[in-house]
């Protein structure tokens, strides 16, 4: 029967083609980023890296439309804060839903699952008004605070805690006089570490990429996230495409590094989440 599962030449050919299509736009981004702006008009288009990357980076960081360095720093701050928070609150709530008994547990869990289906993006107008009231417009708390929790995170951690955290261990810790906060810290969190890492990676990448809400609420061009710096570059009156591409490459690089190092875990997380959901 193994013939059904064997991969022939055609399978590999199709996969190679897919892989090339997947990787080419990213590769080409780095090609243009490493060339002078003449690269845009060349026929045939260049497909090998040039030697102008350093100069492009220097120009990019000097560009007074983009505030690219500020954007990078801001994005790092926002994505890190949100990631730590989402992982903390999700593991805490996931632990409660999976391992603690309390009234209304199942109903509240259903509410959390329902929130995953809610297009919260459609609420950005009142959210903007709320930020105006809090005086957070143009400031980082406006993009950090609404992202501190996600229903997806709570649900994922609840699913994982159900199987990864041993109930006997929790009971034993209780017998030893641990309160539930200490159980969370000493028993649950260590057991959840693999899943929490995946959640952290996915959260970091989503937050780093976030565009619509920062675009709406961070209107001060001197205080952008990196995605807004890209917008400023792309919409600029005068466009040096190799400089714009240097920006896109640098904005993509942290994500690619995370993916190269932790790709296996991220794939595992996505596939496990799919089977359970």
């Amino acid at each position: 029967m193994s013939r059904i599962w064997s991969a022939g030449r055609l399978t590999y050919l199709a996969l190679i083609l897919t892989a090339v299509l997947s990787i080419f736009p990213i590769y080409w981004m780095f090609v243009v980023a490493s060339r002078t702006s003449d690269a845009m008009g060349q026929v045939p288009p260049p497909i090998t890296p040039g030697g102008n990357l350093g100069a492009n980076i220097a120009q990019l960081f000097d560009n007074t439309d983009a505030y690219f360095l500020t954007g990078l720093i801001n994005s790092a701050i926002v994505a890190t804060t949100v990631t730590v928070s989402v992982v903390f609150f999700s593991t805490l709530a996931g632990f409660a839903f999976a391992k603690l008994r309390f009234r209304g547990r199942n109903a509240l869990l259903l509410v959390i699952i329902a929130t995953m289906m809610v297009p919260t993006q459609l609420g950005i107008i009142p959210l903007y008004m709320l930020m105006t009231k809090l005086n957070w417009n143009d400031r980082l708390p406006a993009v950090i605070v609404p992202a501190l929790v996600t229903g997806f995170g709570v649900f994922l951690m609840r699913q994982y805690a159900g199987q990864a955290v041993s109930t006997e261990l929790i009971e034993a810790a209780r017998m030893d006089g641990c309160n539930s906060a200490r159980i969370y810290w000493n028993v649950v969190l260590p057991a959840l570490r693999p899943a929490a890492a995946v959640l952290g990676l996915l959260t970091f990448m989503t937050t780093w990429n976030d565009f619509l809400w920062p675009y709406a609420v961070l209107n001060d061009p001197e205080n952008p996230t990196v995605q807004l710096s890209l917008r400023a570059l792309s919409d600029g009156y005068y466009q040096d495409m190799s400089q714009v591409f240097t920006g896109t490459a640098i904005a993509t690089l942290p994500l690619l590094l995370v993916f190269v190092v932790f790709g296996r875990q991220i794939i595992g997380g996505i596939m496990e989440g799919a089977v359970k959901a």
Binding site: M1, W5, A7, A14, A19, S22, I23, I26, M29, M40, V43, P45, F89, A93, A96, L100, F102, V111, T115, T120, Q121, L122, G123, I125, P126, Y128, M129, L130, P146, V149, V154, R174, M175, G177, N179, Y184, N209, F211, L212, A216, Q227, L230, R231, S234, D235, M241, T248, A249, T252, L255, L256, F259, G263, R264, I267, I270, M271, E272, A274, V275
Partner: protein, 329 residues
């Protein structure tokens, strides 16, 4: 659950009685109420920054509400009736649905096909999976800029390639359907591999002896795919369609960053690829700040998402409804 002191291991020193009684009460308080503290942050933050804004959007949509919002006038459903007669709004609805159909149908079919390939015995398994997922982890805005250049009219690589097979240069940004195709390509580039992995996960949960008995009965590979794999994947396919509907109908970053120059929020000079979310943004934020009108757009989009998601689920249920294998399995 009450803690029994006698059950403690003997190594633990016996605490004094008053302390233990207090500890007992504390632990009962702990087991009873601490779960609520652990889940409270989610509900508080989601309530304030997620649910409340969404519901309040409806209230705002019933007002003539501008940036200052000092005394917004209640105007009932006027914003909605204005929208009904607003050609730009309907234009954006058609754009959104067009891009949604052009992107989602091939995307899910390709993802199924790709998952089927990945489900075979492959060398360097993780490598292939990473290769198909890598588009999903890139920055959306960055990729939209790159595709905007790839689809450029004069120097874009796509037109250069098309020229080789004798197709004249296409103006991807100024032709309505062409711009939908370009944006759909971008969306599919990002999401096909992701969905393939979701389908792959579900495929691996299908017991292999189903295939073995089918091939003993002489079913070909493709027959097995359509009468075993696809029917058993139906819940996952429905899940993927719903997620794609919710995401696809709110499409914003790709079409927005595909365009540049003057007023890119319009998605081209004649609004060739302005989606509903872009239209909401154009009205609600700088420089117009027409919160009331923008909120009405948001609620109609909400309704559109609900309707399209429901239609999709009904269609899918019906399409695969007579899956003969379910009874056998």
């Amino acid at each position: 659950m009450a803690v029994q002191l006698d059950a403690r291991p003997p190594v633990a020193p016996a605490p004094r009685t008053d302390r233990s009684r207090r500890g007992h009460r504390l632990s009962r308080f702990d087991t009873k109420y601490s779960p609520y503290f652990y889940i409270a942050p989610f509900f508080l933050l989601f309530g304030v920054f997620g649910l409340y804004p969404l519901i309040y959007t409806f209230w705002v949509s019933l007002h003539d509400w501008d940036l200052l919002g000092t005394s917004p006038a209640f105007i009932g459903l006027d914003n909605y009736s204005a929208l009904m007669g607003d050609p730009d709004f309907w234009h954006s609805v058609v754009n959104t649905l067009g891009i949604f159909v052009i992107s989602t149908v091939p995307q899910l079919l390709l993802a199924l096909w790709l998952a089927n390939l990945l489900n075979r015995q492959l060398r360097a398994r993780t490598g292939w999976r990473m290769a198909v997922l890598v588009p999903n982890v890139t920055s959306t805005a960055a990729v939209a800029i790159v595709f905007g250049v790839l689809f450029g009219r004069e120097f874009g690589m796509i037109n250069w390639l098309l020229d080789h097979v004798g197709i004249d240069a296409i103006n991807w940004k100024a032709n309505r359907i062409a711009s939908w195709v370009a944006i759909s390509t971008m969306v599919d580039w990002r999401w096909t591999g992701y969905n393939a992995l979701i389908f792959l996960a579900a495929m691996q949960a299908i017991p292999r002896d189903l295939y073995e008995s089918a091939s003993i009965d002489g079913a070909t590979r493709s027959r097995q795919f359509w009468s075993i794999t696809v029917p058993l994947l139906k819940p996952t396919i429905i899940f993927a369609v719903i997620i794609s509907t919710i995401g696809g109908l709110q499409l914003f970053t790709e079409p927005r960053m595909f365009h540049s120059g003057t007023n890119p929020i319009r998605g081209g000079s004649l609004r060739e690829s302005q989606t509903v979310t872009m239209y909401m943004f154009e009205n609600a934020f700088a420089p117009n700040y027409n919160f009331g009108y923008g909120s009405a757009v948001a609620w109609l989009l909400f309704a559109l998402i609900a309707v399209v998601a429901a239609i999709n689920v009904l269609l899918l249920r019906r399409l695969g409804g007579g899956g003969g294998l379910k009874e056998d399995a």
